[in-house]
């Protein structure tokens, strides 16, 4: 498995690799919703929607709470932080990239000055 990003982030990105699940996150960004209303909105069976919500819940992107007979879903903290985390993952990649580039540039400068000295 590719360790492109940190493991907790892997899990949330994986959960978000599905278009319906991204749609659910978008919808919950506008306000809490019950599983029933999500199933209606995405034209899906209750069982199907429950599975998607479970994946999101395990990734920490969604929190659910049962009140009476209704299970309500809302965005988990990770859902709100996903963008910041993505930026952070990108920053780490670019930092490592540019550190490596920096080293190569130092080598090149060294070679140039060696060349001009001889």
């Amino acid at each position: 498995m590719v360790q492109y990003i940190s493991p907790p982030l892997d899990r949330s990105f994986a959960a978000l690799a599905d278009a319906t699940r991204r749609g659910i996150i978008d919808r919950l960004g506008q306000g809490d919703a019950s599983i029933t209303s999500l199933a209606d909105k995405f034209e899906m069976t209750l069982t199907g929607m429950k599975k998607h919500v479970q994946v999101l819940e395990r990734a920490g992107l969604v929190i659910t709470q049962k009140v009476g007979r209704v299970r309500t879903c809302k965005l988990g903290e990770r859902g709100l932080k996903a963008e910041a985390e993505w930026i952070e993952a990108h920053r780490k990649l670019f930092e490592a990239r540019f550190e490596a580039l920096d080293e190569i540039i130092s080598e090149m400068k060294q070679e140039e000055s060696d060349g001009s000295a001889s």
Binding site: V2, Q3, K51, V55, E83, K92, F94, A96, F98, I104
Partner: protein
Amino acid sequence: MDQQVSSAGGAQNRTSVERRGDRELVVTRTFNAPPSTVYKAWSQPELFQRWWLPKSVSGVSLVSCDMDVRTGGKYRLEFSAGGSDTMAFYGKYLEVVPNERIVWTNDEGEEGAVTTVTFEDQGGKTLLNFYEVYPSKEALEEALQGSAAALPEQLEQLGELLSSIGE
């Protein structure tokens, strides 16, 4: 163009990454060498492949690197995560001005970003600006949420794996 990096700078060269507006991601950094040197490290495949995908972070290694760095030229980077599968990033150079700027497309996805890198001379140092501009707000959101920016196929497979575990 709206610069956020102060030219005063300290000894530390910092990499900054920020989202700008709805469709743009910007990365900046200063290098202690003139633009001609930084450009060379960016445009010569044998140098480029030594830094573009640092293994410590990406966990992948480049298996091939073809770059025809001139306006209209193409590139194709193939890399492997250790198994037999390879993945490719490819596209076309829309504009190449040696020592100043390189603009290229990212054609592996449907709504790929157009990437621009500029090299600005700052008294013998180089201020490097790296811009990824997505075709729409939605495409950037998609990238932010992982499927376009990182490794689409692996993520899709992971997604399927997670769904199947959920059953």
